[in-house]
């Protein structure tokens, strides 16, 4: 899922300084799971913002809403009535949700309340790690299900660099070397022979973000 972290409180206060009535919109999907912008975190942020503004004698009225998925037009549309009653929106969904609202409500100023950080998994309570960079041409079948694009600092495709040591990456000593993980898992699966196959350089300019924003179209689903 998409992982995010709340922006520094001071930064959010600065965005909202000119306003006295806003909508704080959370999202019931990814940012709820990583505790950055679901209903609970949204309510906490709203409470903190109200108190901070009250304290400086500039009260801020905050309406709160958490669509099930802010990045889906049907759910974003649910906010239509509320938008007319506020001067600005603070969205604590990922950057996609922010843009969905920006597209649907062109006359309303919108601010992001979180930094959208990566696509990752929960590895322990309160700990999330990056797992995929949406490269557009998945090669996990060749790398024992471990992604060298997201998890190797140098995005190496055919084995480790010379800095791999004791299973750790030379760039960050606390991080596992992706290629050590790939090797160990391939070995335990009896699949080491797969690593003899050379993985060609990725076509970054074709499938990845490097060729501009990507689009998926399914003709059969269009109405």
């Amino acid at each position: 899922m998409i992982k995010a972290e709340q922006k520094p409180f001071e930064e959010i206060l600065e965005y909202l300084a000119p306003y006295n009535k806003i909508l704080l919109s959370g999202c019931g999907a990814c940012v709820t799971v990583c505790h950055a912008g679901g209903e609970k975190e949204g309510a906490l942020l709203a409470s903190a913002l109200r108190m901070a503004r009250q304290k400086i004698g500039k009260p801020l009225e905050i309406l709160e809403s958490t669509p099930a998925r802010q990045c889906e037009p049907e759910f974003a549309q649910e906010l239509s009535d509320t938008i007319g009653r506020v001067q600005a929106i603070l969205s604590v969904s990922c950057g996609v949700g922010v843009q969905t609202l920006a597209r649907h409500f062109p006359a309303t100023q919108i601010f992001p309340g979180v930094n959208t950080t990566f696509l990752g998994e929960t590895v322990a309570h309160g700990v999330w790690e990056e797992r995929c960079q949406a490269c557009g041409d998945c090669i996990l079948e060749k790398t024992a299900g471990i992604c060298p694009i997201a998890r190797c600092a140098k995005q190496l495709l055919n084995g480790p660099c010379g800095g791999s040591s004791n299973g750790k990456c030379e760039i960050k000593r606390e991080t596992d070397c992706a290629w050590q993980l790939i090797y160990d898992r391939s070995k335990s699966l009896g699949q080491l022979h797969r690593l003899t196959e050379i993985i060609p350089a990725k076509q970054w300019g074709v499938q990845s973000r490097d060729s501009g924003p990507r689009r998926i179209v399914r003709e059969d689903l269009k109405v």
């Binding site: 409180f9 001071e10 609970k40 309510a43 906490l44 409470s47 903190a48 109200r50 108190m51 901070a52 009250q54 304290k55 009260p59």
Partner: protein
């Protein structure tokens, strides 16, 4: 003379804080004048939002009476509470609210005297600190 009487919201775990309160009442011990008691089945039921909401909606100070560590009926309740109070304090720092406005106090079922003494001291401390300027009254 200041007439400010701080409002204290006291969450009381039913396994420790509440019996301690009952004992304090039986012994007719002193209690602060402006006190709101909120019983909870376990201190682990208290979410960070409850603590912040209490401050937002009028409390000058928030106290949680919880069981001693490793003495929670539900094993981890007071450990969870500790993390949540820690998180609430981080948020309070960002808002600019003093840390003294939120505190956990561990009691046993027979701690009636401690219960009363702690609240009376907390009221004195908050009187000196002055009103919570973030509350929306």
């Amino acid at each position: 003379m200041s007439t400010f009487e701080p409002k204290i919201v006291a969450f009381c775990c039913e396994q420790s804080g509440l019996p301690a309160l009952e004992m304090a009442k039986t012994l007719k011990l002193k209690m602060p004048d402006n006190l709101e008691l909120v019983p909870v089945p376990c201190s682990g039921r208290i979410e960070t939002l409850y603590l912040l909401k209490a401050l937002e909606s009028g409390a000058d100070g928030v106290v949680v009476f919880a069981c001693y560590e490793e003495n929670c009926q539900y094993l981890q309740g007071n450990v969870r509470l500790k993390s949540r109070v820690g998180y609430a304090k981080q948020i309070m720092t960002k808002i600019g609210l003093e840390g003294e406005r939120l505190e956990i106090f561990h009691v046993a079922t027979n701690s009636g005297v401690k219960f009363s003494e702690f609240l009376m001291q907390k009221a004195d401390q908050l009187r000196l600190l002055g009103p919570n300027l973030g509350k929306i009254a």
